[in-house]
Symmetry: C2
Subunit: 357 residues, 2 copies
């Protein structure tokens, strides 16, 4: 048996392995497989209506009686400077023309995902964990989420962010290292150039807070899991390795890109959504980025690319598709999520014993 700790006991986990909720790539089947195998499955609710979110949770409940983590991105009402909008329109228009899509649309005023309807849903569906990215919603919203009975978690990319999350009442903090795929959770930090690698970040956050620390970023096999525990983590969050499971929602060409990626194939970009995120370079990242001062504010950049993404994907191309992946993508395996979860847990336990022998 894996040695239990405060976090695994609180969340009733057999293994201290959390599947990263990963926005659109997560599915009820993936989350249920992980939870049923003894880990914590998660569903990203990025850009979902309350109705869609309810369907996703119901799908999970049909397949699992265990714990579920639902994840919401949080961001202030984004405003887009007109000159930035113009610059991006100039850069994207040739691609819109090539696909016969007309003019690049104006940025839409999308606001943060956690509205009244979503709150009502949480009260009804009672997920065991509600996690956030890019900080936390307002104190009163956090209290209303807590009142549903959910444990609350969010990501920190620096010690200062971890301290802030603890002071705001988070039950656990996800230490998100530089290696992690997808969006950097940075919300106090403003400079992606000073983001911290997992090996350095985890022990410094463990020293700074009293709440349990979940290590994430670059963890894709048993070696990474044992390393995270050596650093003082109470659990690990794994994203990219689960992307390669058949249960995740990843298109065939994106899967091919993941399976061919090497240790140094990913970079941090802001051109896909407006916020720094790690992925495999696609055409638009190569042409405009990976980092551009002209990228519209999150999530406007994604809105501008959405029609191109859809048109190109119909042709089997990933020119405008987010190919989020972390730096350990190479260590992943194309196996079902339950097998992966149990394999990781068993191999990590064996490796811990071997290390002390």
């Amino acid at each position: 048996m894996w040695p239990s700790n405060a976090l695994t006991e609180r969340l009733k986990l057999k293994w201290p392995i959390i599947q990263a909720p990963m926005g659109s790539a997560s599915t009820p089947a993936l989350a249920a497989a992980v939870t049923n195998a003894g880990g914590l499955g998660g569903l990203g609710m990025w850009g979902r209506t309350a109705e869609q979110a309810a369907r996703r949770i119901a799908g999970f409940r049909q397949q699992s009686g265990g714990s579920l983590n639902v994840n919401y991105p949080i961001w202030p009402d984004p405003r887009c400077a007109p000159d930035i909008t113009e610059a991006m329109q100039r850069q994207l228009q040739p691609h819109y023309d090539a696909h016969g899509l007309g003019p690049v649309p104006e940025p839409k005023g999308v606001i943060s995902d956690l509205g009244q309807e979503q709150l009502a849903l949480l009260l009804e569906a009672k997920p065991e964990v509600v996690s956030f990215h890019f900080g936390l919603p307002s104190k009163s919203l956090v209290e209303r989420v807590r009142a549903t009975g959910a444990r609350i978690m969010s990501s920190a990319t620096t010690v200062a962010e971890a301290r802030w999350l603890e002071s705001e009442g988070c039950d656990a903090v996800i230490a998100q290292g530089f290696e992690a795929g997808g969006h950097r959770g940075m919300f106090l930090a403003t400079d992606a150039a000073s983001q911290v690698g997992t090996l350095a970040l985890v022990p410094q956050i463990v020293d700074a807070v009293k709440i349990p620390v979940i290590a994430s970023g670059g963890i894709a096999d048993a070696r990474g899991i044992v390393a995270a525990f050596a650093l003082g983590a109470s659990a690990v969050q794994i994203g990219t390795a689960y992307l390669r499971c058949p249960e995740s929602r990843v298109s065939a060409p994106a899967r091919a890109a993941l399976s061919q990626a090497l240790d140094d194939s990913t970079v941090i970009t802001n051109v896909m959504t407006g916020r720094p995120a790690r992925g495999i370079p696609n055409r638009v990242m190569r042409e405009i980025g990976p980092i551009s001062a002209d990228a519209p504010a999150f999530p406007h950049a994604a809105t501008g690319l959405a029609p191109l993404k859809a048109a190109a994907e119909k042709l089997g191309k990933v020119d405008f598709t987010n190919l989020w992946a972390g730096q350990a993508v190479r260590l992943g395996r194309d196996i079902p999520a339950a097998e992966l979860t149990r394999g990781l847990a068993g191999e990590a336990l064996a490796r811990m014993r071997q290390l002390a022998a």
Copy 2:
């Protein structure tokens, strides 16, 4: 006792802890203290004449009968485009004027450190390990170094670099993660934006080569050491933590900067020397960098800053001083090197046992 492995046996180390040779900050007293405490002490020979290098090795031998690692940077004859030289001169001239230093000097044609005189020295002084940074010298030079009886090591920042070092006959490879302070060892990799965090890099290099892998980058306490072993490393190389020892050659204001640095205080810059290196931002990094397309080729950028550095340091300022440090600088302690080495070894061993309990 620490479990021995091929690398520690070969180098006759009691502990698998290698003090990073760290250019000018390393001293014979530091290296001897580490070796005498059971680790492997190192001396950087960056920019040293053969005579100076000989004195450094003699100083070590007076204080230790154990193993020594000497380190040389390797780079092709650098050429500086005239427009880059002009741009940098424009940026530095106001600082030269402020210190009454006259015109910014033309870049000097410094070439790689390992010349005939240094080779003769190695043949005479027979250091147990000769390590390189930025790749390796020519095959014939490597063979002549090997003929002195030295084990040969170099740093890899990617799997491809590690494979190349193995194919060129390195006895061990140092996997240098993104977190590491000082110069990135990159020599095949050209894009600092795709450099890999230690937690992701070490296991991928372990999978790719048969020679022993030494983990470096973000390791400053027992937790990092155990994590490195969990990832498959045969030893760790530690730099920044040794900078804080009294035996290292670090000025008082630079020491103050190190002791105040936080997890996210360092960035990678190319303006100090012309090659990407991680350190605490100083005045010139903030004004011109941290990354600038106008930075002259390595090591010309450093040559241009040297007079300013000396003038400012006389005033107790670190405006132009390399404040190299890794992302775990906060985990360091101001204690003697022998105490640090023995403490790290003992605490790591205890933590390994605790992890499996």
